[in-house]
Amino acid sequence: MAGATLSATTANGAATAQPATQLANSFVSKLVIIVPYAFLVIFFLVPFFIVFKISLSQTVIAMPPYTPAFNFGGGLSGIIDQLKQLNFDNYIFLTEDPLYINAYFTSVIVAGISTLLTLLVGYPIAYGMSRAPATLRPTLLMLVILPFWTSFLIRVYAWIGILKPEGLLNQLLLSTGIISEPLIILNTYTAIFIGIVYSYLPFMILPLYSALEKMDYSLVEAAQDLGCPPITAFWKITFPMSLPGVLAGCLLVFIPAVGEFVIPDLLGGSQTLMIGRTLWNEFNNNRDWPVSSAVAVLLLLVLIVPIVIFQHAQARAQEQGR
């Protein structure tokens, strides 16, 4: 009875306080949502439509190097006239030239293999971190993030020094007598894999660590108690429980790796063909803005599919966590 009276008074109190604050609250919450969306519209959606528009244009030797270049001087009829000149020729061209299809294909394969390798390297590290003494974990986390304190470009350049025929790795292996001829790693796909695994490892470790650290270790004990040897307990309990982290980590590595330009360009040499480099060549060497824009738009489409999968999985995981 006392409890009922109490809750009734609090409800009344809240009701009288509401009208004044409610309006302010809804305004503030709208404002909070508007800011990031406005940011995305101005800095992502608008540029994307500009790129998309250019991808429908034709290349010309002019300034800007495509036609039609929009101007609003001709009024409405002028704009309609300009729109009529746009077409999908560049996209048709991309599908006809095997170079581009190969580049897309290679990029996806290279990114896929790199992601798998990153997972194989990252999982044991994340697992070890999550089982480390609680006092040690912040330090370990710090060490994972530490490489970000140096420029990405410099770190990739450093790998050239390590991997080149007369580089540190070969000198070490030669001086210890493990090999007699220097290994050719630089300018091969192996170098790209090494570069991607190295550069994106933190993006794999962090979501894995957060998934594994959250997990209640008594679940593993319960599995063992019910007759699972440790390895079985890992595959039946720990790994399935860490799947959201595995998925997040893989997509965080895979998505940027597909469009990666710096690593293939610096470590992969001229024979490796990835879409990021193709785009760069198209834009800077050929000065073909419309085709490179079409490449960029297609690249985005290739990447949107895994992003949607990722978001779907995340929403489901959230649903489950409730």
Binding site: S218, L219, E221, A222, D225, C228, A233, M241
Partner: protein, 379 residues
């Protein structure tokens, strides 16, 4: 026939010198670094016994349970189950199952799969697994929830899933770590009786860890009271309550009045204890307290009578002043301040609606008790 407490127990293998011990802790010590969690502890548990380890947090009771399950290894000493040394047997090969305090239900599996987990692990044929799971679901009354995931269940339902999962494999021993800790009071009381019935029905040996003395008293055949890694007393609930072995046990279980004093006179059976201010207490069955020894006389509040006039015919009567009264409906609790300043707690059942001898604050009152109402504690 006279016995301690109000229950006559027919199941008492611990009194039978020929009974075969089922679980034996032999001089078990467990250290974590400098911290001694379990100190040279020996304990025997019998088959089909409902055994409770009772103690405050950090007393080593959970460590003891985890050593039995195999998650911790004793630093020294050995643990035997059914005559077999468990040292070196990993948790997944021990014929014991544990119900975890957090329940540790697998969140990515349905209730059904959770219960079937251990059975599949031991390679039981699928049809048998299904049969056993159905049996278990029926046992814990969760048939309609078989396809649910743990997060779709209430706390009480999760507790029952955990229970079903841990007994599904028919372990030799079921270990329960604070099995009712996460339930609310009413549900906890109901579940206590359910657990007792289940233990009877399955004929398993239960070892339960708890910090709740009422829970231990209700469910267990015997209780081991633990403190700082050592067992203070192992006895039936009635013995622990009515014949505590030490001041610690007397204080730990229930309410108690403690009179510190010296044994003034000692006959074969009886003793007279003199308190610090000269009050005399006559005790029957004084145990091993020798004359001159410093002892404590412990008496439970409900064994003390309170009256406004000095009672006739009772050997022990002390005068004081009513200091505090708590009326609880079924009983009334009085705090009486004696002349030496000690507060005596007396409890009287309100067996009649109308009291002949009502007392109020600051009344002079007498507290009295029979010579066999309390125990003499030397430790």
């Amino acid at each position: 026939m006279k016995s301690l407490g109000s229950i006559r127990r027919d199941f008492a293998p611990w009194n039978d010198p020929n009974a075969k011990p089922y679980i034996q802790f032999e001089n078990v010590t467990k250290r974590f670094g400098d911290f001694v969690a379990v100190n040279n502890l020996s304990l025997t548990i019998y088959e089909r016994e409902f055994f409770a380890l009772l103690g405050a947090s950090g007393c080593g009771k959970s460590t003891l349970l985890r050593m039995l399950a195999g998650f911790e290894q004793p630093t020294s000493g050995r643990i035997l189950l059914d005559g077999e040394n468990l040292a070196g047997t990993p948790p997944y090969r021990r014929p014991v199952n544990m119900m975890f305090q957090s329940y540790a239900l697998f969140p990515h599996m349905t209730v059904e799969k959770n219960i079937a987990f251990g059975l599949k692990q031991e390679g039981m044929p699928r049809a048998d697994v299904e049969k056993r799971v159905a049996e278990m679901l029926k046992l814990v009354k969760l048939e309609p929830f078989a396809k649910r995931k743990p997060h779709q269940l209430s706390g009480g339902q999760r507790q029952r899933v955990a229970l079903a999962r841990s007994v599904a494999k028919r372990p030799k021993v079921l270990l329960l770590d604070e099995p009712l800790g996460a339930l609310d009071k009413k549900l906890r009381e109901e579940t206590q009786f359910e657990l007792m019935d289940l233990q009877q029905e399955l004929g398993l040996t239960f070892v339960v860890v708890t910090h709740d003395q009422e829970e231990a008293m209700t469910m267990a055949d015997r209780i081991a009271i633990m403190d700082k890694g050592e067992v203070m007393q192992v006895a039936t609930p009635a013995e622990v309550y009515e014949a505590p072995a030490s001041r610690f046990v007397a204080n730990f279980v229930g309410n108690v009045n403690m009179f510190e004093g010296k044994v003034a006179e000692r006959t074969e059976k009886n003793a007279t204890i003199t308190g610090a201010t000269g009050a005399q207490i006559l005790v029957e069955n004084a145990g091993d307290a020798s004359a001159g020894a410093n002892v404590a006389f412990a008496i439970r509040p409900e064994k003390i009578r309170i009256s406004s006039a000095k009672p006739d015919g009772l050997a022990n009567a002390l005068e004081g002043e009513v200091y505090d009264i708590a009326y609880l409906g079924d009983m009334t609790v009085y705090h009486v301040k004696l002349s030496d300043g000690q507060i005596v707690r007396a409890q009287s059942m309100n067996a009649a609606r109308i009291s002949d001898d009502p007392l109020t604050w600051n009344d002079r009152a007498w507290v009295s008790f029979r010579p066999d109402a309390g125990v003499v504690l030397t430790r």
